[in-house]
Symmetry: C3
Subunit: 219 residues, 3 copies
Amino acid sequence: MNRMQIAGQLLPTMVLILDLCGTFAFALSGAMAGVRRRLDLFGVLALSFAASSFGGIGRDVLIGAVPPAALTDWRYLGVSLAAGVIAFFWSSRIEQGRTPVRLLDAIGLSLFAVAGTEKALAYGLRPEMAALLGMLTGIGGGVARDVLLAEIPAVLRSELYAVAALAGAAIVVGGSVLHLPVLVGSMTGGLVCFSLRMMAIRRGWRLPVAPDSDQGAKP
Amino acid sequence: MNRMQIAGQLLPTMVLILDLCGTFAFALSGAMAGVRRRLDLFGVLALSFAASSFGGIGRDVLIGAVPPAALTDWRYLGVSLAAGVIAFFWSSRIEQGRTPVRLLDAIGLSLFAVAGTEKALAYGLRPEMAALLGMLTGIGGGVARDVLLAEIPAVLRSELYAVAALAGAAIVVGGSVLHLPVLVGSMTGGLVCFSLRMMAIRRGWRLPVAPDSDQGAKP
Amino acid sequence: MNRMQIAGQLLPTMVLILDLCGTFAFALSGAMAGVRRRLDLFGVLALSFAASSFGGIGRDVLIGAVPPAALTDWRYLGVSLAAGVIAFFWSSRIEQGRTPVRLLDAIGLSLFAVAGTEKALAYGLRPEMAALLGMLTGIGGGVARDVLLAEIPAVLRSELYAVAALAGAAIVVGGSVLHLPVLVGSMTGGLVCFSLRMMAIRRGWRLPVAPDSDQGAKP
């Protein structure tokens, strides 16, 4: 069995595992946002599912992979609900650890950006669009979570977030263009995304806002 | 003509009729939310259409039934717009009846949960996912209505709502798994959903919120 | 080469050009909304892309044209990002011109309503539904922009907006039904939409709101 065949067998399994880990991490962070807003059990579970699966569902709808994996494979739903129930009952314990929601969120972001890019490449999208879809997979769940809570999505003005996802996705795409082994590209991309995001939180790295056009005239 | 064939002919007709009745009920409730927020005529009609059709459109996009029924069959649009115009001109009269919006909403919820589940089953989704999609069909329009009004969707924290839809959908799925006649499963599922929802409103049945993690420390 | 063949060659090119011009106009108006809300550079670019492309992406998902043109053709993304960067750095200059955002928005609306209707017709939708989809293409980006900013979409209560798009789309559909040359229908439709929208802004034309049901009783 040559390298190509191994990669061909590894790819689907790896995409699945990455997807499920990312699902758990995002579901936990979505559920905790719901707990903080005093939603009921259904609301918390719905936010778990939205935060964990709407990025991937969006990606699958856009590339024509319907019904989306999150709706045909019960494992995504199961992992989401499990994370939601855990957050519902033990949110205070999860909250106590230092910045645990952000840590989980960074893990989910990295895993989804990588898995989303791999899947978009597997569906034949052009490299730059696969990277864009990978980023969208990573940030989509969080956007859905914030829209459902009637808030401006944090990703539009937080510390480096989408940019970290995009960097990770770009590395995956680069690895694919250079025909590197899938695992190398994926792991490097995921690590870069995760490190960039954690550094951004710790050091407060932010993108600039537009130069002020009116010297503070607007209140 | 045996029972199977009758069911085969009845199913599409029944799904259509259920869909149209649900469309009218949800459109009315969506339009009245728009009237209350002082939207203009277009805004009211847009909310009619969103509340009545986005659940079904979402379902159809997710199962790959595009263009969605709501966009190929003018009857959905016609029923939505008719309900919107009625609500626009006679909202005060509709409002006067006791909790009429909630009653209509419960009817729409039941009809959509059942019709959505039937359609998902007809497209070959697994039973548990068909139930989930039925629930999504039922609550999707209301979520779209609330998101468009920049509010947290009521379904995330109201009295039993999605749970009622899920119960109805589960009964439809159960009937299908047990090979009961389609009408039996559908009508039982719809009645259970409707009764559960109306009881929940009357008696204030709610799902729990998460145990308070900080004894009211957060304001 | 007969008229039919010329139209057959012109149509795709014309749809592309209209789409790209509309993309630029909407991206600029989306980006400026982001600048005004003090989003960071990514937020501004994301709003550019959302405002410029979500109408077309929604249309493409609904008619089954996936992956959507906005994700397979880098020119849409490039034009969006260029408009976003321009708005980011020169927003004050763009703002200084008299009602420039609204002018751009009206141009984008007209171009998208026409292009969206043409594409829906090309995908075989029925005339009235093609007009509806053309209108949705025109207003979809603005709705996405406002939802992401957690605001009620302006289109639901502004001066004639969706109605202008619908009028333009209806003319395109009418031209197609009457077998007029594509350019005639498209240009007439676009001009009618643009004129109607600009007149509506200048003269404050609005659709009515519902007759007050309670003589101001509700605060």
